[in-house]
């Protein structure tokens, strides 16, 4: 049997709101080669077996963060996961956990986008700076303080890995906290105080119970659990220091 004739059963969780009252599993037999990603398997289904299958994808090389899915119950980028690893038993693909399903493998990501906007994910200068003053200078040591957190591609796998987000979607969640921390830790930024409001709030870091799965599943080796837990300490410091300092601790002064 030549390699091209290999087939693998792919079970896909379908949800077509106009006809399904709840998601149902559908199995497709997909021919595959050893270099095919799970995403390519889905593309085969869409091109040759069932054109109505919906899923998001773009870059095919783990940088756009669009193709996050549950593969055998684990949050993964489908372009970075290979069919050969599931041969011959097959695999089950579902929409990212903890998010509402819009259709098939497409989730509703409005909540994530709103949270992303809310943390001001850009550098807020400490003081206004004229162009004539030139560029900001930053040492490698200063850059190291935030660099890993800046690798986030907004793929939301960490949200699908976070049971606390699944139980309470008001929780800011791992990825957004990692990005918030990324800007707070940047030596060029002066917006930490504005962002810390959210960290301290009811929906903030204390929803986290240190499951730690968010950091395990991150395809870009960001450590969101670390960002969340560092900010628990910052938040606790802020709470207690308010009793001894006239204007409360400057939590953003963690730099």
């Amino acid at each position: 049997m030549s390699e091209i004739e290999k087939t693998i059963p792919i079970e896909v969780l379908r949800y077509r709101p106009e006809q399904d009252t709840e998601p149902i599993l559908q199995t497709f037999q997909v021919p595959f080669t050893d270099d095919m990603s799970v995403l390519q398997g889905l593309q085969y289904i869409k091109d040759y077996l069932d054109g109505s299958l919906s899923f998001r994808w773009s870059c095919r090389m783990a940088i756009c963060g669009s193709c996050g899915m549950m593969v055998n119950g684990k949050p993964t980028l489908s372009c970075k996961t290979f069919l050969r690893d599931y041969y011959s038993a097959g695999l089950r693909i579902e929409a990212l956990a903890h998010f509402p399903i819009e259709r098939d493998l497409v989730i509703v990501m409005d909540d994530f986008i709103e949270k992303l906007e809310s943390i001001k994910p850009y550098i807020i200068p400490k003081t206004p700076r004229a162009l004539s003053e030139g560029e900001y200078l930053q040492t490698p040591a200063e850059r190291d303080m935030y660099e890993q957190f800046s690798s986030c591609i907004n793929c939301m796998l960490c949200y699908a890995a976070c049971p606390q987000y699944g139980l309470n979607s008001k929780f800011v969640g791992p990825g957004i906290m990692a990005l918030l921390h990324r800007y707070n830790m940047d030596s060029r930024d002066g917006g930490a105080e504005q962002r810390m409001e959210l960290v301290h709030s009811e929906d903030g870091v204390f929803n986290c119970t240190a499951v730690g799965y968010c950091s395990e599943v991150c395809p870009k080796h960001v450590d969101p659990a670390n960002a969340v837990n560092i900010n628990k300490t910052e938040s606790a410091k802020d709470y207690f220091l308010r009793f001894v300092m006239p204007k409360g601790a400057k939590s953003g002064a963690a730099k």
Binding site: P23, I101, V108, P163, G166, L167, G212, S215, E216, T233
Partner: protein, 137 residues
Amino acid sequence: MKPRAIGKRRPYVRPMAGWWRRNPFFVEYMIHEGTAFFVAAYALVLLVGLVRLSQGEAAWDGWLLALKSPVSIGFHMLTLVAMAYHSWTWFNIMPRTLPPIFVAGKRLSATAITSGGLAATAMASVILLVVVWRLAA
């Protein structure tokens, strides 16, 4: 003609019931969090001992005798295993909870933090064992 529905969108929210059984990682999480009950139970045993001590010699001797029962020894063995596992998992997650620590300009690795914590636990346990042993002798 009836007005068309505003939209065909009907987002489906999946239930969370039994979430921790869905992934081996979550099962392990529940087990290591569960070991905290053994920590609490052991604290309770010590607390009872303190109360019995305040009630006089007979009460104290009774408590000591109760500790020697097979059920008590079994419980203590189980607690020891649970505490060891509790410490192991606690120090494994520790690097994720700390801000970066720099020693001589280099960031301390996760392995160094975990093994440092485990070594400190082992050392504290041995010291405590030796001290109690000597006091008892």
